[in-house]
């Protein structure tokens, strides 16, 4: 049971990253590919947070009552993930605007049909 408790998050995040990578590699619809990138981002965020997790820990916030700083989980991955989430949204928004322009030019989002330049 302890083993499961240690690795359940890692399992989940690697599964997410793999599903995302699979979508990016195999699917040919651009919006599907962007969904894949989004899944990868979520998976990586989960991975970073899991790396900072302590099973007996508390949230890294001092709230009134005296708390032991030694028991808090690692705050740095949380800060990194806050940054990573916003970066992920930025890339996503830009990708979707590109998808809109691409659709305007070709009337399709199927990357196999878009062969102006060689892939």
């Amino acid at each position: 049971m302890s083993f499961l408790e240690d690795y359940v998050h890692y399992g989940g995040c690697f599964a997410l990253i793999m599903v995302g990578l699979y979508v990016v590699l195999v699917k040919s619809n651009l919006i599907k590919v962007i969904i894949g990138i989004n899944l990868i981002d979520t998976g990586i965020n989960l991975f970073l947070i899991s790396a900072g997790y302590i099973r007996t820990g508390t949230a890294p916030i001092f709230s009134g009552a005296a708390q032991e700083p030694g028991k808090m989980v690692d705050p740095v991955p949380q800060a990194l993930v806050l940054t990573a989430i916003v970066i992920g949204v930025s890339v996503l928004a830009l990708a979707l605007s590109l998808a809109i322009r691409l659709h305007g030019h070709y009337d399709t989002l199927d990357l196999r049909k878009i062969k102006e330049l060689r892939w």
Partner: protein, 84 residues
């Protein structure tokens, strides 16, 4: 507790697979939002309330809205895959 976490992770992974499998992009986006929502609850359980808030508002909320606006301006159905 561990059962709950296991359940959340399972739902998340299933939703991700569903997001990959749906042909209707709108459904795929909703599944994607579900992934983010589950991730946000897991973040909270991992003692990261700040990240949980950010993921819930940005990941599950705004991202979905952005996707839906973009799908409205393009196409909703994924093309059928040819055998390759």
């Amino acid at each position: 507790m561990i059962v709950f976490q296991l359940f959340l992770v399972l739902v998340m992974v299933v939703a991700a697979v569903a997001a990959a499998a749906f042909k209707d992009l709108m459904n795929a986006v909703i599944a994607c939002a579900l992934v983010s929502l589950m991730a946000s609850i897991i973040f909270y359980l991992l003692h990261a309330p700040d990240v949980a808030m950010a993921e819930a508002s940005i990941g599950a909320g705004l991202t979905t809205a952005i996707f839906i606006f973009a799908i409205n301006r393009t196409v909703r159905q994924e093309e059928n895959e040819e055998a390759d």
